[in-house]
Structure formats: C-alpha cells, structure tokens
C-alpha cells in the first residue's frame, strides 16, 4: 500500500487542501429569522418553563385567573388545610386541644369572640404564661405559629377555627390581617393580660 503511494507521487502543485470560506449570507439570515420566530413562539407558549403551565394556558398569570374561587367554600377548605398542617398538631384536628400540650379552640372564649383583634395577635405574636380557656387555666407557651403564614392563609385558618366545632363567630378577611400585622409592636410573645388590654 505505502509502496504503491511512494511509487506514484502526486503531481506537484495540485494537492487538494481544506480551505475556509465565509458561510453564505442567506444561511445566516435564515438562521436569524428562525431564531427570531422561535423566540416569539417561546415567548407565547412556554410560560417560562413553569411546571404548572400547560397549554391552553400560556402564563402563570393567566392560569391564576382561571382558578375557581367559589367564595366561602373555598376559603373554608383552605382554612381547614392550613389548620391541619400548622395548628392541628397541637390543638388537635377536632379543636379540643391536648392535655399538657395545648388548650382547646372549640368553645374557647378567645376564638369564639365577637372581635378577632386579640385572637389574631396570638398566632402573630405568640403567647406566654397563664391563660384561662373555658374556666380552666393553662400555663404553657405557644410560639408565633402564624407569623410566617401569608395574610390570606392566616385569615382562612382563623375563619375556620371561628366557624368550626360549634364556634359561630364572624369571618376574618386578609385585609383585616394585613391591618393588624401593620399595627404589631416588636416581636415578643404576649401574655393573657397584655391581650386583654387590646381592643377586642
């Protein structure tokens, strides 16, 4: 093989060589146009890769607008869900509390009260020291379990505890919570007496 090559040297000067030349203009232009169209398509259909956005929805905002919100029933279901995941561990799924762990919410004068200002302060600030619930005294402490919840979730959970297990108090809206949150003092667990000093 190599002998053969040697015996027949290529004619000098005519050896083929790899050269470079600029890509034709039309390829560049077509590519740019395709990229542009792809960008438009992406912008219109991707929902920015949000895993919740499926066609026919095109954006998280549009999807949000189509969430069915059937007023009271939806808020109550939401409140129940938040209650069971945040408060229920201590206060029990039935709101009856647990001996040595947390007082009951069912029939509690703090929960089933006319106003919700004092009540809202409990999950927002925390509670410390002796507190009388339904004639029985509890001396435990509760951290500010609701401080990290968004306004609407806290409103939903308070509405839920105020209207469950025989409690029949008025609902709480997220605007109410927003106002109360804005009026809070420095973060420090409150006592029963401090709560009583607040307007109901």
């Amino acid at each position: 093989m190599s002998d053969e090559n040697k015996s027949c040297p290529p004619p000098s000067g005519n050896e083929p060589e790899v050269t470079r030349s600029a890509a034709p203009m039309w390829i560049i232009v077509t590519t740019l146009v395709l990229l542009f169209l792809g960008g438009l398509y992406f912008d219109r259909h991707s929902g920015w890769f949000n895993q919740n956005v499926y066609a026919p929805y095109t954006s998280a905002k549009q999807l949000d607008a189509f969430q069915p919100r059937s007023g009271a029933a939806a808020a109550r279901a939401r409140g129940k869900a938040v209650y069971e995941s945040v408060c229920g561990i201590c206060h029990g799924p039935d709101g009856l509390g647990k001996l040595g762990q947390a007082p009951p919410l069912a029939g509690s004068e703090w929960v089933d009260a006319k106003g919700f200002n004092r009540l809202s302060h409990i999950p927002l600030m925390g509670l410390n020291g002796a507190i009388k619930v339904g004639g029985k005294e509890w001396t435990l402490s509760m951290a500010a379990m609701g401080a990290a919840l968004p306004d609407d979730d806290l409103a939903a959970v308070l509405t839920y505890i105020r209207s469950s297990w025989g409690n029949k108090a008025s609902p709480v809206t997220s605007d109410d919570i927003k106002k109360i949150r804005a009026s809070l003092g420095p973060a420090k667990a409150m006592t029963s007496d401090e709560l009583m000093a607040l307007p109901e």
Binding site: F49, P56, Q67, P68, R69, S70, A73, A77, A81, E84
Partner: protein, 288 residues
C-alpha cells in the same frame, strides 16, 4: 485531520444541547414532582395506588394495551360559565327585563344576545347558566354587576376540547396524573377510547373484566381483541366461583363451565379502576 477539534466541538455542542433540552430541562422542570393538595380541598392527589393496581400496570404493559389506547386527555380551551343561583328580590320575569337593561352597555353588547337567548324560555329554575365565555374579565365583570343588584351567581370554570366533549376526561392530563406510573403508558394511537379516566367512567370491575374477556358482550360489534388468556374457562366445582363472569347469550361458556379471571386479570382491572384523572389541580383548574 486539521479540523478534528472543531468537529469534536460541533458534535459535543449538538449532543450537549439535545441532552440539555430533552433530559436536563424536563428533570429540572418536573423531576421534583410530588403529591399535591387538590384545589379548594384538603385531599392529596394522586393517591398511592394499591399493590394490585401497581402490578396491573405491568399486565397492561405486557399486553400492549397502549398500542390501541392512550392515557392522555387533551384540552384545547377553558371557559367561564356564569350560573344564576339566587334572584334576590326579583321574580324571573323582572329579572329578564332587568338583565337586558343591565347589558345594553356597549362593551357588553356582544354578550347581550347570548344572555337574552339563554333566558328566553326560562321559567325560573335555578341554578341557571346564563353565559359561557372564554373571557375571564367579562365573566368577572358580569358577576360583579349581578352581585351589585343582589342577584347571586356562581362562576364555574370548565375545560373544553374534543376529548372533554367525548367524556374522556373532565380536564386535561397533567404530569401529576402519572406520578406513580412506572413506566408511563401514554400511548400514541387511539384505536380505542382514551383510558386516562376509565376508573371514573367504568368503576365496576366486573364489567371491565367481562369486556376484557369478550369485548362484544359489552360493546356491540367491538373491534377490540378478546384477552382470553387472562381468564380460565373451567368446570364448575362443588360451588360456582364468586369471581365467575356474568356472561350471557353467545358469550356464555358451555353449561357446567364458568369463566374466572386469573390474578393478572384482577390486577389489570384494579389498575384500570385506579385511572382517575378527575381532581381539580392548580395546573388544571375546573369547578367540580
């Protein structure tokens, strides 16, 4: 090879780009999927399937049901339906007159005819759907107007599309529906109906089994092949088996014989019963 490095780079970038698009991006997008809470409720979705249903998926796979059946309902749109639930102080007749006056406004004029037509022959029964529109803004405005005059209405969100119209689903299939499917049996050919919601459509295991043994006994002139090997035709012993299929006419076994499903068939039926893509989810909202 003078251009070896460029060729390597080009190949690397090409393969790397497809890997990013087909493997990495989906993994980032959906790799962390887990059970979620259904919309406006407290139940989780999807439920962990039973052992029988999990084994049934393998029977489904082994019998290549996905060659003729898909498990993906499609949705092409979404609409808001305004439905009257209470007329407040009005009588239906007043309401008809009043609603026409309410919607003479130019921006709502195009909806007036639809509403007028929907309440024309209405005798006052509630709830009464009065408008279906894909425009959420209009629907909200309408609900607000009704509320302002003390008329109660509900806004229902409904999925639309050919699959939904056929009754194959209530909403489109989304990734959450396949959380426990291993492997996912999407299917691509629809010789038979979509099965993403068959557990809701046909909840009866007996009927599903009967259909598998003799499709024609459930659907007249069915073109689905019979899966007889999933059943045993045997002599009735001391007492008939409680599992025996209820077959009649030309599908019935000879007298003295009965058709009983094998465990595989029972698993398969359990799997079909577990296919219920009917929970409203954040990513696939609708009013149940």
């Amino acid at each position: 090879m003078k251009t070896g490095f460029s060729v390597f780079l080009a190949v690397f970038v090409t393969i790397g780009a497809s890997w990013c698009g087909l493997v990495l991006a989906p993994a980032l997008q959906l790799g962390g999927a887990k059970q979620e809470t259904i919309l406006n409720g407290t139940d989780t979705y999807p439920l962990q399937p039973t052992g029988a249903a999990t084994l049934g998926l393998q029977v489904y796979r082994a019998n290549a049901c996905a060659a003729c059946h898909t498990e993906q309902a499609c949705q092409t749109g979404v609409v808001c339906e305004i439905s009257l639930t209470g007329l407040g102080v009005y009588q239906p007749a007043d309401f008809k007159a009043f609603v026409r006056s309410l919607f003479v406004l130019p921006e709502l004029a195009s909806y007036t005819n639809a509403i007028g037509a929907s309440i024309n022959n209405w005798s006052g029964e509630l709830p009464k759907p009065i408008l279906i529109t894909a425009d959420k803004k209009i629907a909200t405005e309408m609900a607000d107007r009704l509320k302002a005059v003390g008329v109660k209405s509900e806004m229902n969100i409904l999925a639309t599309g050919p699959d939904i119209a056929r009754g194959w689903g209530i909403r489109q299939s989304v990734a959450a529906d396949y959380l426990y499917a291993q492997p996912v049996q999407l299917g691509s050919l629809r010789a038979g109906p979509d099965l993403s919601n068959i557990g809701v459509r046909v909840p009866d295991a007996g009927l599903l089994l009967k259909h598998l043994f003799a499709p024609g006994s459930v659907t007249k002139d069915s073109t689905m092949p019979a899966f007889r090997h999933l059943f045993e035709v045997r002599k009735i012993g001391s007492a008939p088996s409680p599992d025996a299929l209820n077959l009649t006419g030309k599908f019935a076994p000879p007298t003295g014989y009965e058709v009983v499903p094998t465990t595989d068939a029972k698993y398969l039926a359990a799997y079909l019963q577990s296919l219920k893509a009917n929970a409203p989810l954040v990513e696939a909202p609708f009013t149940p």
